[in-house]
């Protein structure tokens, strides 16, 4: 049986770990709330933007010709992986990388063989994994999460779009964890570029097209709106991943706290048993000693 002192030391160490995990859980819960609020604030903007774009494309079918919608043979592929900067979030980061690899291996196997798959990481953790696996890491953007703002994200989105227009890559996929609730993250892969053709064509006919005046003209507005909608899409993905990260961390830390409690219970039991044993021993010794004196 472990000595009293050893057990006591373990109890102290486990309970201080428990305090830390509990604090991290609280912090993540607060951050999760803020991230969720940000998603909610983005929603009206994103919905309205889609609506206007929908209105435009029902009245004009020439949206196919844009620079961001051009469907090319996907020779060069860019994978954008959104993870977190910090660990201790369960399988959050591992999952997103696993998904990204799966997609590359299944959908872009030939491009991979030719070395035409490049990677971009948002968040330190996926960047680390990509570097370790010696993939072609184009750039990593870990600073995005310190003070997440639309402005920063839109700069990055612009860079990706420029790369697409300059034919540095023919297809861009985003892999991220979508936030469902605090305990559940849905791994999601979205085609970022080229912009997939609008699927709501059947729905579009029912939305009555009003006789809008267009300033300066329809084509220009569509060209103006598509980059905006792309930026919004990336921003939304990052916000979602951010919320999912905190959800995942909260759950992980909650489990860790529970485990620590469990462990503490066992350790206390062991400690008390050991203590009782030593007391019994002591009494036996005293009684034995007294008996010897009397005898």
């Amino acid at each position: 049986m472990a000595s009293l002192k050893e057990v006591r030391n373990r109890i102290t160490s486990v309970s201080s770990t428990q305090q830390i995990t509990n604090a991290m859980k609280m912090v993540s819960a607060a951050k999760l709330r803020r991230a969720q609020d940000a998603i909610l604030r983005l929603r009206p903007y994103a919905e309205k933007l889609q609506e206007i774009l929908g209105n435009l494309s029902t009245s004009a079918e020439n949206a196919e010709s844009g620079v961001y919608t051009a469907q090319r043979e996907p020779k060069k592929v860019l994978m954008v992986v959104i993870s977190s900067n910090r660990g201790l979030a369960g399988a959050f980061n591992a999952n997103v990388m696993k998904e990204a690899r799966k997609i590359v291996n299944t959908r872009y196997a030939s491009q991979l063989a030719e070395g035409n798959v490049s990677w971009m990481s948002i968040g330190k953790k996926s960047g680390d994994i990509i570097t370790k696996s010696q993939f072609n890491l184009l750039s990593s953007h870990n600073e995005l999460f310190d003070g997440l703002s639309f402005e920063k994200v839109s700069l990055l989105a612009q860079r990706i779009m420029d790369g697409f227009v300059a034919k540095e890559f023919d297809r861009v996929e985003i892999v991220y964890n979508r936030f469902k609730n605090a305990a559940v993250q849905i791994l999601t892969t979205e085609q970022f570029l080229p912009v997939p053709p609008p699927v709501a064509s059947s729905e579009g006919t029912k939305s009555q097209s009003f006789d809008y005046i267009f300033e300066p003209d329809q084509q220009t507005i569509v060209e103006e709106l598509i980059p905006k909608s792309l930026k919004t899409q990336l921003y939304k993905a990052i916000l979602d991943s951010f919320a999912a990260e905190h959800g995942a961390r909260m759950t992980a830390m909650n489990k860790a706290t529970d485990n620590a409690r469990e462990l503490l219970k066992e350790l206390r039991l062991t400690y008390n048993k050991a203590r009782q044993a030593s007391i019994t021993n002591e009494i036996l010794e005293i009684v034995g000693g007294a008996e010897a004196l009397n005898g």
Partner: protein, 78 residues
């Protein structure tokens, strides 16, 4: 008419207004009650709003788009 100014990060303004001026790409746009349906791109500039009490508000935007429909104005700004 009803005006909403929305950015990706928050809702800047929502209220009944009398008139507003927008920085359209082809020049300044004034919008009053019962304006015809309109979709216009906006450039960098200032949105000026006169509300019901004739108080004036100003918002700086970096570009965006405006939709006017049935006395509802929605400005998507950046």
């Amino acid at each position: 008419m009803h005006l909403e100014i929305i950015t990706p990060e928050k809702k800047l303004f929502e209220d009944e207004v009398k008139a507003l001026t927008l920085p359209g790409t082809d020049g300044s746009l004034g919008i009053l009650e019962n304006h015809a349906p309109l979709i216009s791109a906006l450039k960098k500039g200032v949105v000026k709003v006169t509300d019901k009490t004739a108080a004036k508000h100003q918002f700086e935007i970096k570009g965006g788009v405006v939709e006017v429909l049935h006395n509802k104005v929605i400005v998507l700004a950046e």
